[in-house]
């Protein structure tokens, strides 16, 4: 047992830090620090930079063109890029569908799609949830009927993050109606530019356009885009969920947000003194900081002990990670007091309109509301507690 970073890990950290500092455009970092709205081009810009360096997929096995980073290296990479103000990487391709393709995809799928991911050529999104199937994912209704060398897909996905930017979507679709609803589900890759695909925005509580309804109206999908075996989609989906939960801990980003919170608290006043010195506020802030230390250590513990495949313990990371993210948005909103009230979308978008009150204040309330999603998506925290109770504790 040695809980300090090795010299190699430390060197890697220095390298990532130096690279991020040198290559991340400062105006993009500023937008991230200030919680401004990011455009498609903002994400693509940073991912292109990483792809050129080979770091967009550094955590992939070397066999698939990655650098074979250890989980600890990946953690360092996340932490350092987040601290530098990098936007989060769009996870749906490189972190979610990629492991499924590596484990279950055909050779052409691996070469074609994984290759394009390494070069940041496609924007992927995830077609899981449906209006009637949220936490009860398996009750999905989108159908794919085989017609020779292609499927015809009809149905309605919802809650699809950034689908308006996407080139590709991976979908769970029903290819037969078996006895158990988990059976007969298949895993399909669909080109978002296909005729019959319609994206309709779902405006978020913060008036952000982040999620969408996606409609499939007789969309033709080549059989070559079926992943693995027909009817085995549920197995692949469960395999994928584990990966989704690991990344969802979001330690790197939360550490950056904690630092921002401290900066804000130092500038705000309460009763004639700095809010950071207010004992009650300081205690709440410290509690989140301690929780985050515990989470980070747990992440390291899980990663360094078990290698890359996360067990049901990953549910802890999802639960605590999302709760901490929410606590940070809540404290930030409270920190600015009455200036949490003004809502000036143009200022949040960074479109030149001045904010009302301190510049940092304007996105905070909207962000608090939007961040309530983190305990809902990726398997709600209630579902995660069910998983712990059943899969870990045997209840």
């Amino acid at each position: 047992m040695d809980l300090s970073y090795t010299a190699d890990e430390q060197a890697f950290r220095d390298e990532v830090r130096a690279f991020a500092r040198a290559s991340l455009p400062p105006e993009l970092a500023r937008k991230v620090f200030d919680h401004r709205r990011l455009a498609r081009s903002d994400y693509v810009c940073w991912q292109d930079i990483l792809a050129k360096k080979g770091w967009l997929t550094g955590h992939w096995p070397r066999a698939f063109g990655g650098l074979g980073w250890t989980p600890v290296q990946l953690h360092i990479f996340d932490e350092e890029t987040a601290a530098a103000g990098a936007p989060r990487l769009v996870p749906f391709g490189i972190n979610m569908v990629a492991p499924v393709l590596m484990a279950f995809g055909g050779e052409w799928q691996q070469q074609h799609y994984l290759g394009r991911m390494r070069e940041n050529k496609d924007w992927w999104c995830q077609g899981y949830s449906e209006p009637g199937a949220g936490s009860d994912l398996a009750s999905l209704k989108t159908r794919a009927e085989a017609h020779g060398d292609h499927f015809i897909v009809n149905g309605h996905k919802t809650w699809t993050t950034l689908a308006q930017h996407a080139d590709m979507i991976f979908c769970l679709v029903r290819t037969s109606t078996g006895a158990r609803k988990q059976e007969g589900i298949s895993f399909l890759l669909i080109d978002m530019h296909s005729p019959g695909v319609t994206v309709r925005p779902l405006i978020m509580i913060d008036e952000e356009h982040e999620i969408n309804d996606v409609y499939f109206d007789n969309v033709k999908v080549p059989v070559a885009n079926l992943v693995g075996e027909e009817g085995k989609g549920w197995t692949y989906a469960k395999y994928l969920l584990g990966f989704e939960r690991t990344n969802i801990a979001g330690v790197g980003a939360s550490k950056r947000e904690l630092a921002t919170l401290k900066t804000i608290a130092a500038q705000e006043q309460r009763g004639g003194q700095s809010l950071a010195r207010d004992p009650h506020f300081a205690a709440r802030l410290a509690q989140v900081e301690i929780d985050l230390m515990a989470l980070e250590t747990t992440v390291m513990r899980v990663l360094s002990q078990r290698g890359k495949t996360p067990g049901p313990e990953a549910s802890i990371l999802k639960i605590r990670g999302s709760e901490i993210q929410q606590a940070l948005t809540e404290l930030m909103m409270e920190a600015v007091g009455p200036y949490a009230l003004p809502f000036v979308p143009e200022a949040i978008a960074g479109e030149g309109t001045a904010a009302v009150g301190p510049d940092y204040a304007s996105p905070l309330a909207a962000r608090y509301f939007a961040w309530r999603k983190t305990t809902i998506y990726g398997g709600s925290n209630e579902i995660q507690r069910n998983i712990i109770a059943q899969a870990v504790l045997g209840l």
Partner: protein, 384 residues
């Protein structure tokens, strides 16, 4: 000790409920919100017809002379409907200040047009950087001949851009750093002035609030007002400001109770109808208990809202402040808990703009940022 409403009050409550149901549905509200002023002048006129706009005013000024019970019922209905109109700012706060501090001529000139819905007056009391401390006033009032020149900035003035007139607090003597906000009687040098929103030197930055209302930051640059603009005694306005802020806080508590009622009802409806795993999700015990806690929070908040309203007329200022702060803390925290639980129980749709519940959750959360948040009032309660 009697917590029940009399028949007249019950009738009032029912007529309010009918009005909200008929004229303030979710889609109608959206339409009012999209109007240039962010609320409906038609609705405002109907409020006037119903007597709502003069509810607490003396009858001689066109009011109904109603008491605490009616205020509770009106504000709860406003919460039920997520009403956008400037009732708190104009009737409770500005109307309250005028009733309390105004001379006969001022009352005669201002209250009847407010009650008739012909004029909107709002209070501009808080300043940037002062957070929730209304005694931290840096706006200056300087005598110039018989007139007074006002200079300074007011923050997050509810409906400031839609008002005809503003009641502005300014410092006519002393400075703000020597005030302890818990010794009301000792705070000195703050005066109130009536200012036309369109007066020379007044500039208004109008904006939406995150809970769907309108507010403004307002700058006063050498704004000249005559002697008739002074409301109450020069330098002696703080006790009135403090009392009216408490009246506003108590009214906000009642509004929050109304929001809680409707939000809880919407959430229950969702729990009973939304199917997952082949059953309504309200069958899950964890969600049942969460709904039970939401109910408990709302009931306890209602108790505190009643208690605070009752104490508004207390002659014991310390007791009034203590109880109003307790209510604001309780309602603030309960509101946070209810809005978070409701969002979670609604699942993905709960964080979209398309759901009525999302709007209720936002208002319920942001009520806490008006007239002192839970932390502010907890501190005031401790030091009381």
């Amino acid at each position: 000790m009697d917590f029940s409403f009399n028949d007249e009050q019950k009738q009032f409550q029912e007529s309010l409920a009918k009005f909200i149901e008929r004229d303030y549905g979710f889609e109608r509200r959206r339409a009012y919100q999209a109007l240039p002023e962010g609320f409906s002048r038609d609705i405002w006129a109907q409020f006037a017809d119903m007597g709502l706009l003069g509810l607490p005013f003396d009858e001689q000024y066109g009011g109904l002379g109603a008491g605490v019970a009616e205020m509770l019922l009106a504000m709860t209905a406003i919460g039920n409907g997520l009403v956008l109109e400037p009732y708190l700012a104009t009737v409770i706060m500005a109307g309250g200040l005028i009733s309390r501090c105004g001379n006969q001529a001022q009352k005669q000139a201002l209250l009847p047009p407010i009650a008739a819905g012909k004029r909107i007056v709002v209070t501009a009391l808080a300043e940037p950087g002062a957070r929730y401390d209304l005694n931290r006033v840096e706006t200056t009032a300087t005598r110039k001949g018989g007139d007074t020149m006002l200079s300074g900035r007011k923050a997050v003035v509810l409906h400031g851009a839609q008002a005809d007139q503003l009641i502005v607090s300014a410092r006519s003597s002393g400075d703000s750093s020597d005030d302890s906000s818990n010794n009301v009687a000792a705070i000195d040098g703050i005066s109130l002035y009536l200012v036309d929103r369109g007066a020379a030197g007044v500039s208004v930055r109008d904006y939406r609030t995150v809970d769907g209302l309108r507010a403004a930051d307002i700058t006063f640059n050498e704004v000249r007002v005559g002697p008739e603009a002074l409301l109450g005694a020069e330098g002696g306005a703080y006790a009135a400001i403090d009392a009216i802020a408490d009246a506003g806080a108590a009214a906000l508590c009642a509004e929050a109770v109304g929001v809680m009622e409707t939000l809880n009802a919407l959430t229950l409806e969702h729990l009973k109808t939304r199917q997952q795993f082949g059953h309504p999700i309200g069958g899950f015990q964890v969600l049942q208990h969460r709904a039970a806690d939401m109910f408990i929070h709302a009931e306890q908040s209602k108790s505190m809202a009643y208690l605070a309203a009752m104490k508004l007329s207390s002659t014991d200022v310390a007791e009034r402040r203590r109880v109003v702060s307790a209510a604001k803390v309780h309602v603030g925290r309960s509101g946070r808990a209810i809005s978070q639980a409701s969002t979670q129980l609604h699942g993905g749709m709960g964080v979209t703009n398309e759901l009525a519940a999302a709007h209720y959750a936002r208002r319920l959360t942001m009520i806490d940022f008006n007239l002192g948040d839970s932390d502010h009032h907890l501190k005031r309660f401790i030091n009381a």
